[in-house]
């Protein structure tokens, strides 16, 4: 089966409009695939090239080198966009339109008939929990509501792939939980998702596979469980262990040559640790 997303050796260089021909290498030799039905998380600090990768994938900007395809169709072709929905980072829509009208507008762009749109938008407004605001103008929508109407807009023509650029950025915890639940619903419908985020806990909760991108390079990639496992370490998770048992175990470990206890206590998110490990160093935002 054709991969939902196929990115081969993508390099994107921005030429800055200045006299000394400054260049920014936003993405460098990046390759990744997303299988149909898979939820892929692209994580990395600000300025690491996540949005740029997504824009090239959607044919919004051209690749300097390499190629990208959606379900086997080159991103440069208009037809490749028939099966994809996109929610950009901090999206704005036409403020003077209502939620309903916004869906109508994007439905038309997606090539749906009026009848299909009215059925589909009813479904989607229910899905993203915006039925109460369908006739309100977007100028009165909160950040979380905008993000959700953006998601509905992305789903209007029943795409098989959804690209979400920081879907929960700037949304409060309750709102971002709603969005997370929506993404999980997409998995049930076997829709492929590629999303970017720096909110790691969420990525950990929803993604099947993650890639860590830093300074335009994909530094680490793999299925969630594999990435989490640290090969030369073993974790023993004890339930209801009394303090003296923990002491005994600690003593036992100390007796053994070569082995050492790194940490004992309550388990934490390990993705966060991994993230910090991979991306420590100069942040692109602090480069001059």
């Amino acid at each position: 089966m054709e991969p939902a997303v196929d990115i081969q050796d993508l390099t994107k260089v921005f030429k800055l409009p200045s006299l000394n021909r400054e260049q920014v290498v936003a993405v460098k030799n990046l390759s990744l695939q997303v299988a149909p039905g898979e939820i892929y998380g692209l994580i990395g600090p600000n300025g690491s090239g996540k949005s740029t990768t997504m824009k090239v994938l959607l044919g919004l900007i051209s690749a300097t080198e390499g190629s990208t395809a959606i379900f086997g169709q080159d991103s440069r072709k208009v037809s490749s966009r028939a099966e994809v929905g996109f929610l950009p980072e901090n999206p704005y829509f036409y403020k003077f339109l209502s939620g309903q009208e916004t869906l109508h507008f994007y439905g038309r762009l997606g090539g749906l008939s009026k009848k299909e749109i009215s059925e589909r938008s009813k479904e989607l407004l229910a899905l993203v929990d915006l039925e109460h605001a369908r006739d309100r103008r977007l100028s009165g929508y909160s950040k979380g509501m905008l993000q959700r109407i953006g998601l509905a807009q992305a789903l209007i023509q029943r795409p098989r792939l959804v690209v979400l650029d920081e879907p929960t950025a700037g949304v409060d915890p309750a709102g971002s939980r709603k969005i997370r639940d929506l993404i999980l619903k997409l998995r049930e419908e076997e829709i492929s998702v590629i999303l970017s985020s720096h909110l790691l806990e969420q990525v950990q909760e929803v993604c099947d596979r993650v890639g860590i991108i830093f300074n335009g390079k994909l530094c680490r990639e793999g299925p969630m469980e594999e990435l989490m496992a640290i090969e030369d370490q073993t974790e023993i998770l004890l339930d209801k262990a009394p303090a003296e048992l923990v002491e005994k175990v600690t003593a036992l470990v100390a007796e053994h040559e070569g082995a050492s206890l790194i940490r004992s206590g309550h388990p934490r998110t390990t993705l966060e640790r991994l993230f910090l490990e991979e991306t420590s160093g100069d942040s692109p935002d602090t480069r001059s």
């Binding site: 824009k55 966009r81 994809v84 036409y94 994007y106 762009l109 997606g110 023509q157």
Partner: protein
């Protein structure tokens, strides 16, 4: 909506013109001519400014708001997007030109009727007087009034008027297309507006300048001639749309139009 304030100003302008002209000239035909002249001037200015201002920011705004990303992420060819934006801008111009034309025709018609009925009244009185005391002097006044009436009739709303409106709209369409094109690569809205106005100005002035230059006794040197031809190719000739002067003067369109 800001367009509609413009429309309001436009109609206020015609109205004010109608009322004011009466103080300047007693000649009824001239009154109508001046009225048309001022209205077309206003309409032409409105369309020129509007064609530039309304289109200059359409695309930059979509880029800034990232609406463009959501639109082009749908299976929409870029050409269709550009063309749709252009048509949207032109629709606003088309609607306002229609409204202005209706307003102008209505004002013109009412004013014409008023002037004609004044004349009619005068003619009736003159005819009665002529019957009572037949004499050459009074008849002359009557003849003059008849001539005046027929020239007045020629100044009312007509198809030629519509042709001038169409020419103004076409000019706005060309200018709008140029502005939209510039806005796709301009770094700022101000740059777009300035470039569009320069293009318009050069295209409007250039044919006139070149004509007078060509007919000057010294003629034009080879290099200047080349330069002029180059300018002529790059800048559209906005004089082609200038039917207004002739039509206001009461000319009808040459056949073949």
């Amino acid at each position: 909506m800001r367009v509609f304030y413009f429309l309001l100003i436009f109609s206020a302008l015609i109205l004010a013109a109608t009322l004011m002209i009466q103080n300047f000239t007693q000649d009824p035909t001239r009154q109508l001519k001046v009225m048309k002249d001022m209205s077309f001037f206003a309409m032409s200015i409105f369309c020129t400014i509007f064609a530039i201002v309304a289109t200059a920011n359409l695309i930059p705004k979509d880029i800034e708001d990232r609406t463009l990303y959501t639109i082009l992420a749908k299976p929409v060819p870029r050409f269709e997007y550009l063309f749709g934006k252009y048509l949207g801008g032109m629709l606003v111009i088309f609607v306002s030109v229609t409204v202005m034309t209706i307003l102008l025709s209505a004002f013109l018609y009412l004013r014409q009727e008023a002037l004609l009925s004044d004349l009619q009244e005068y003619m009736q009185v003159a005819e009665q007087e002529a019957e009572q005391a037949p004499g050459a002097i009074e008849n002359e006044g009557l003849d003059l009034a008849r001539v005046e009436a027929s020239s007045l009739r020629a100044q009312g709303p007509s198809w030629s008027l519509l042709a001038a409106v169409v020419a103004i709209s076409l000019q706005a369409m060309v200018l709008g297309a140029i502005t939209l094109c510039v806005s796709t690569f301009a770094s700022s809205g101000l740059f777009t507006v300035v470039v569009a106005f320069v293009v318009f100005f050069v295209g409007y002035i250039e044919p006139v300048v070149v004509d007078s230059w060509r007919s000057s006794p010294e003629g034009i040197s080879g290099f200047s001639n080349l330069l002029i031809s180059a300018v002529g190719v790059v800048f559209p000739n906005f004089q082609s749309f200038n039917l207004v002067d002739g039509i206001v003067a009461g000319e009808t369109l040459p056949s073949g139009w």
